[in-house]
Amino acid sequence: MAAQILKSEQYLVSEEPYYESVGREIELFQAAYNNQLPVLLKGPTGCGKTRFMEHMAWRLKRPLITVSCHDDLTASDLVGRYLIIGGETRWVDGPLAEAVRCGGICYLDEIVEARKDTTVVIHPLADDRRQLPVEKTGELLTATADFSLVISYNPGYQSVLKELKQSTRQRFIALDFNYPDKSLEQKIVVQESGVDPQVAAKLVKFAHMTRNLKGSGLDEGASTRLLVHAGKLIVSGIAPRDACRSAVTEALTDDVEMLTAVHELSSSLF
């Protein structure tokens, strides 16, 4: 197995990622970053959290290291491990250690999905110590002023298992994300998918219809991301009804009645 050792430069975001500011989140993030405070992004799926991070990394000109957390993600996946390379053991930094060393932004997406022991390694990084103990090499990394830790979390899942512990959440500056308002969301859909404004307006309207159903049959309404997907399909020549069905309706639910109802809603618009 050839270990690939990545250079931090390649995490730099060179082109400006498209992002529409909804409130004062850019200002707030900037202030938190300047004060070396870690940030927690809250919000439903597909409302632009990840895009916001790319945009901020570009603004701050810092490398962005994103880790999508999953239920097998352990502390050593974040910190690092020994590998055998050419008959020698060599230490390889994990994404978190690398971000600390190069003074980048480490973004742990959907942190609640990770195993519980990972929170232990982020705790000392997330308070005023700003340290990362690397047990296996005996090092104690101290983060520079450039380093920033960001985690994201979707409070919409109502599972007890997926709640963020108080001891963790109380270390972070929390930014609440939600779907942008109608005109802004329409603008985003136009910009991202290239669909014309009238169609985008209808897509946004459709998303609002599905959001009306949240809690009474749907766990989550259609996200901006799904609208962009539908818009892209429409630009490629797919009929709007079919595009909505594949990109949005089927992605939202498997329940037959709900599928029919949501499909009828999109058909009402197009």
Binding site: M1, T74, S76, R81, Y82, I84, G87, T89, K136, S159, V160, L161, K182, K205, H208, M209, T210, N212, L213, S216, G217, R241, E257, M258, T260, A261, V262, E264, L265, S266, S267, S268, L269, F270
Partner: protein, 703 residues
């Protein structure tokens, strides 16, 4: 069996055995004589089945079967019977007899089966559809009259107007959309009754009003929901709508403009009152101004009181926060108000709430109230915004219950869970047949638990040992391809291999692997009357030992006792819920397990399966402790009970729940294999051995 048709006497004899003595078998028997033997057998077979449900119903069937066989084949008859039995389960004898008496009606419907759309089949879709459209949640309900009272949309019980099913479905959609549009685009913002009363013929005026509103609402739908509008136009073409009169056409165009409102409709009424009216269209239904006014008044009164109270709470909250910052001496009389964004209020967005001219963001429930009031009135009147305390009006969220409901049983079903039950004779479910409630067990203090632990001290110690060995622990896996640490032994070996010219092994890491027992288990304990005495005691002792063992293992578990009497009163007693820790309270509840009534197993299994489905776990187990066959007072015994229980277990299996049964019934080998399968049960011959065995069986099951 011979092919010779049965004689009158033979049929009479057969029927006489089935019917009440007051029912005379001669008449139905005479009708059955001319039939072929296979048909006679078919009818008699079903008569036997229906008798089990209700002999009067069976009599009705036997009397109408011959006529029904002329219009339907045997498959159709079967559907006819099942639909009648369904009606019987839900509504009782009289309506179900009506179904059996009208075989030709049913046959006609059966013939149009591919065309008809039934309300029951689309109710769910329509409810979601309407809620998605926007605005306040509206209910949908079947009714022969198609109208809305602004709380519910009333749609016909079935539609077969068009020759294609999809068009009939479209018609439902168009009807629902038209009624929704009335509530959304403000048809009810004037007093329709008062407006119509100004004309010599108020009924004609109402018709005119509806016709004009149809134009206005269709135009609004065309702007906002063009796809739906196209479908409505298709329906109008299919229905061969005649062209509206010319004068009408010319006058109503103003209503199609953006921004046309209900005042334009009212204004136009006087111009068109004396002209010809267009024919009503297929989806417009009717208007019922009086019922709208009633529903709206009740709703507004309630919402006004709720809003005023909510505003008061908000004001107090704000003042509490500000008192510390501001000068506490200013006794400002604060005023709520509204301001709308831009010149024209957006239909989707009610005006913003302000406090002393400053916009504030109200909590979600207040926003919903504001939206609903705005939807009804098109405005938020100032008197609604007066923060008031608990005034005279207390919104009563639980309306008075009509006394007759108590007798119809709906009262008893409030807050309860309804479950289907399998009737093996019909090969079909009885819908919402069982009424199940979760109840709390009365905890009972006493030395029982401590005594049990002392009594079985030796067993407890050995259980601890065996269960500790099972517990999920971190195990280090050696010689892995990748992992957290380097496996030094393997590495040394690999390097030696490499130096002597062999290939360097990749497997030189150790991985820490946590063997997780991801198990959720529910114990369903028999609390029927037959457990009285030492069976009950053995059950309680077993539960104590089991809990000790499970606490060591760390598996998630819950304990429920089941009992009940008749389908109307099925009960599950919570001893320990999944998320509850094993506390003294739980111990006292185990002690409090007492024999109750009967054992209706199917419904309990269905409910507990639902509970297990809500839990995230790799392995889900449902373990039943029982002392005998399923048995209940109202005929839930013998094959019926066994077949329903078996069906419930099959459903559980499909839901990913493994079932197992521990029983002390020595005859259980006769029926348990049929219910649980050949290997999923254990019979314990000696009750006193139960506590010794249960924990052990659990260990074997899960390792």
């Amino acid at each position: 069996m011979s092919d010779k048709p049965l004689s009158l006497d033979e049929i009479e004899d057969e029927l006489a055995m089935l019917f009440y003595s007051s029912q005379r078998p001669e008449e139905p028997a005479a009708l059955l004589v001319p039939l072929m033997r296979t048909q006679q057998d078919f009818v008699l077979r079903w008569t036997v089945v229906i008798t089990k449900t209700n002999p009067e119903l069976a009599y009705q069937f036997a009397s109408h079967a011959a006529a029904a066989l002329k219009v339907m084949d045997e498959g159709g008859i079967t559907e006819w019977i099942l639909s009648a039995l369904d009606v019987y389960d839900r509504k009782g004898l009289f309506p179900s007899s009506a179904v059996l008496q009208n075989a030709s009606d049913f046959a006609a419907r059966l013939q149009f089966k591919d065309v008809v759309v039934e309300f029951d089949d689309i109710a769910g879709v329509m409810a979601h559809f309407v809620q998605g459209l926007s605005g306040r949640p509206l209910k949908v309900a079947p009714s022969d009259e198609v109208y809305t009272d602004s709380d519910s949309l009333f749609l016909p019980p079935r539609l077969q107007q068009f020759s294609r099913q999809e068009d009939n479905f479209r018609l439902y959609k168009a009807m629902a959309a038209h009624q929704w549009a009335q509530t959304w685009y403000g048809s009810f913002r004037v007093d329709i009754e008062a407006v119509c009363a100004q004309y010599p013929d108020p009924e004609r005026a109402l018709e005119l009003f509806h016709g004009l509103e149809l134009v206005r609402l269709d135009a609004a739908i065309e702007r906002d929901l063009s796809g739906l509008y196209r479908e409505m136009q298709v329906l109008n073409q299919l229905a061969d709508m005649p062209e509206p009169p010319g004068r009408w056409q010319a006058k109503v165009s103003a209503l199609r403009e953006t921004g046309a409102s209900i005042t334009d409709t009212v204004r136009l009424m006087s111009h068109l009152y004396n002209s010809d009216l267009p024919a009503p269209c297929c989806y417009q239904g009717s208007l019922s101004p009086r019922r709208v006014a009633q529903a709206m008044q009740a709703r507004l009164e309630k919402e006004k009181a709720l809003l005023q109270q909510a505003l008061l709470r908000m004001q107090e909250g704000l003042e509490g926060a500000q008192a510390q910052q501001d000068n506490p001496l200013t006794p400002a009389k604060r005023r709520f108000g509204t301001q709308s964004e831009g010149a024209e209020a957006d239909i989707d967005r009610p005006p913003e709430l302000t406090l002393d001219g400053e916009p504030i963001v109200p909590p979600n429930d207040v926003q919903a109230l504001l939206r609903s009031i705005y939807q009804d009135l098109g405005d938020i009147p100032d008197e609604y915004l007066y923060a008031a305390g608990d005034g005279d009006y207390r919104p009563d969220t639980s309306p008075q219950r009509p006394p007759e409901d108590v007798w119809r049983g709906t009262y008893h079903e409030e807050g309860a869970h309804l479950y289907n039950e399998w009737d093996h004779r019909r090969q079909d479910y009885r819908k919402n047949w069982c009424v199940l409630r979760e109840l709390d067990i009365k905890p009972q203090d006493g030395p029982f638990v401590a005594d049990t632990l002392v009594k079985y001290a030796g067993l407890v110690a050995s259980l601890r040992k065996t269960f500790e060995a099972l517990r999920g622990e971190n195990r280090t896996l050696r010689r892995q391809k990748n992992g957290d640490e380097v496996d030094l032994d393997a590495l040394v070996e690999a390097l030696t291999d490499a130096q002597s010219g062999h290939e360097l092994s990749e497997r030189v890491f150790t991985q820490s692997h946590r063997v997780e027992r991801d198990i959720a288990v529910l114990f369903m304990v028999d609390m029927s009357g037959s457990t009285k005495g030492w069976i009950n005691e053995a059950e309680r002792e077993s539960l104590v030992l089991l809990c000790e063992a499970l606490e060591i293992l760390g598996d998630r578990y819950g304990i429920y006792g089941f009992s009940g009497m008749t389908r109307k009163r099925c009960e599950l007693f919570r001893v320990k819920r999944f998320e509850e820790p094993y506390t003294d309270e739980v111990r006292a509840r185990i002690n409090g397990i007492e024999p109750q009534d009967y054992t209706r197993m199917g419904v309990s299994i269905r409910h507990l399966t639902g509970l297990l489905q809500a839990v995230e776990a790799r392995t889900k187990l449902l373990i039943t402790l029982s002392d005998g066959k399923p048995d209940d007072y109202d005929g839930y015994r013998g094959q019926y009970g066994i077949e329903d229980t078996r069906k419930a277990l099959i459903e559980a299996k499909q839901a990913g729940v493994h079932s197992f049964c521990i029983t002390i019934d020595s005859e259980a080998r006769d029926y348990l294999p049929h219910m649980y399968g050949a290997v999923n049960y254990t019979v314990i011959d000696d009750v006193r051995r139960l506590p010794h065995r249960v924990a052990d069986i659990y260990r074997r099951l899960t390792s």
